[in-house]
Symmetry: C2
DNA sequence: CCGTTTCTGTCCACAATATGGACGATGGGG
DNA sequence: CCCCATCGTCCATATTGTGGACAGAAACGG
């Protein structure tokens, strides 16, 4: 009845069986929560949630305030911004601490980090978002620390997001990009640009971003697939431009591709 | 407009302003989630969720399956039990890692643990539940490890839960006990018993449990209050019966009371 | 100081949505 | 094979959520 995905690694809502309908209110509440999660500790103003979810303001308002009463969302006294509440980590305690992916990646990331000397990021897909779940700082004295663990952005915005999209069937990727279109505006990009980047990454075998969030930086991302060959994560290296010249770029890409393959391996045989 | 609680420490839904109504579906979904959280990794069968929430089976079924589609709940392939899904910890990453309470308690727990030699638990209140958030193993060779971090039970069931209830206004405690009544049956207790224990703890100044979850063990719990003097947590020591004889019991209680006071202090002045 | 803009919060008539009683399916045990 | 326990589904009903329109509050700026 249900889909029978092996599901060794976890990922967002399985996009296989979607047809069940109803429960609109609950779905909307979750959509709001996921948007709020992108706001981290500082949170987001109501209007931004409205814009990102595409819901009407009264609806978002009602949802957010119910969630506050339930302790799932908090409102910052001063700023009036809404953010994920303290009860969410409490619910999360019900699960074992480290996911299989994180466990598998730990050793390999450490090794790779020593090898490259620049900052590495491990980013997973969760629903239509990317989520940074691990970061390793390298030995080179200039490090790009733009992203923190927990950072959450729409798939397609970050280098890792493009890589993950490039690794999935074109049609599925297009669907996700379309779904995220409303949220792209806050990140000063749009669907067409993202689709072009995806195509380029697919051709190249990895994603190369010439201009990172911080000007003067570049990054490379490779994707990691689950045993059923669905992309679930990406490894990214970020460095100042001078560290990613035409000679070093393909070298680094090769190292990241190796690391990705090793992690894929390790997930198959625990 | 909103309640103006200082809220240095976090706790469950603030029981001050409850009147807002509506959003039944969302509230019910959250109730289901909280029950599922008590099931930890192994999860719970549907029937148990029905029993604990007091909702009808079709309703719980629908809610649970929507949450599965959304990745918030998982269903274990073999057992068919429902459990908190992988997306919950992902949402939790949006928050800073350690709560003020945990930070304040860390040092003091370490010291106290060395002093007593038996297992210590730090348990918070979250809504109508208790949640074990820290555990320190002592040096004595026999340790009671009945409870793990993340364990979640209705307020009133555990020693810590009784302590927390004893520290709040009698009327509020009664209300919570009543709300949890349906869930007590699974833990082989009932409202009358719990209320008696609360009264005894209130008289004594701390809670003493003669028979713990594991036969042959005893435990003592003291409560921790927030600056606005609402109970938010409890410290518990659990030990085999011989370690908690009539001489040592009051000594230990005094040590725990000290520790609780120290933590309260530290929260006030960070 | 007082328009003006941009937020957030509230109301309420309407209908889409969630609800739960009843029935059906599944599967393990005796 | 039948029984009992558990899970899943249907569908008529009215309860619940919805969003357009309005109102208040705070930031802006001339």
């Amino acid at each position: 009845m249900d889909d029978g995905v092996p599901d060794i690694m976890d990922m967002g809502a399985a996009p296989k069986t979607e047809p069940r309908r109803g429960a609109q209110a609950i779905r909307r509440a979750l959509a709001v929560l996921r948007i709020l999660a992108a706001g981290r500790e500082t949170g987001l103003p109501l209007a931004e949630v409205v814009q990102a979810t595409g819901l009407t303001r009264p609806t978002v308002h009602r949802i957010v305030h119910v969630l506050i009463e339930e302790g799932i969302v908090e409102r910052h006294e001063k700023t009036g911004r809404y953010a994920i509440g303290s009860q969410v980590p409490e619910l999360a305690l019900a699960r074992p601490s480290r996911s299989p992916l994180l466990a598998a990646a730990d050793e390999i990331l450490k090794r790779t980090s020593r090898e490259v000397g620049d900052t590495l990021f491990l980013t997973v897909r969760t629903g239509n978002d990317t989520l940074c779940v691990d970061r390793r700082i390298g030995s080179f004295p200039i490090q790009v620390l733009s992203i923190e663990i927990g950072a959450r952005r729409p798939l397609g915005v970050s280098s890792a997001g493009v890589a993950i999209l490039a690794a999935m069937p074109a049609q599925e990727a297009r669907k996700i990009v379309a779904a995220n279109e409303a949220r792209f505006v806050s990140y000063r990009t749009n669907a067409a640009t993202v689709l072009a980047q995806i195509a380029a990454a697919r051709r190249r075998g990895y994603n190369l971003r010439e201009v990172g969030l911080v000007p003067g930086t570049k990054s490379i991302s490779t994707w990691i697939k689950t045993p059923d060959s669905r992309p679930a994560a990406a490894i990214t290296v970020s460095a100042v431009r001078m560290r990613l010249g035409p000679r070093r770029e393909p070298e680094l890409a090769e190292i990241l591709l190796d690391a990705a393959r090793s992690i894929e391996q390790k997930i198959r045989s625990p």
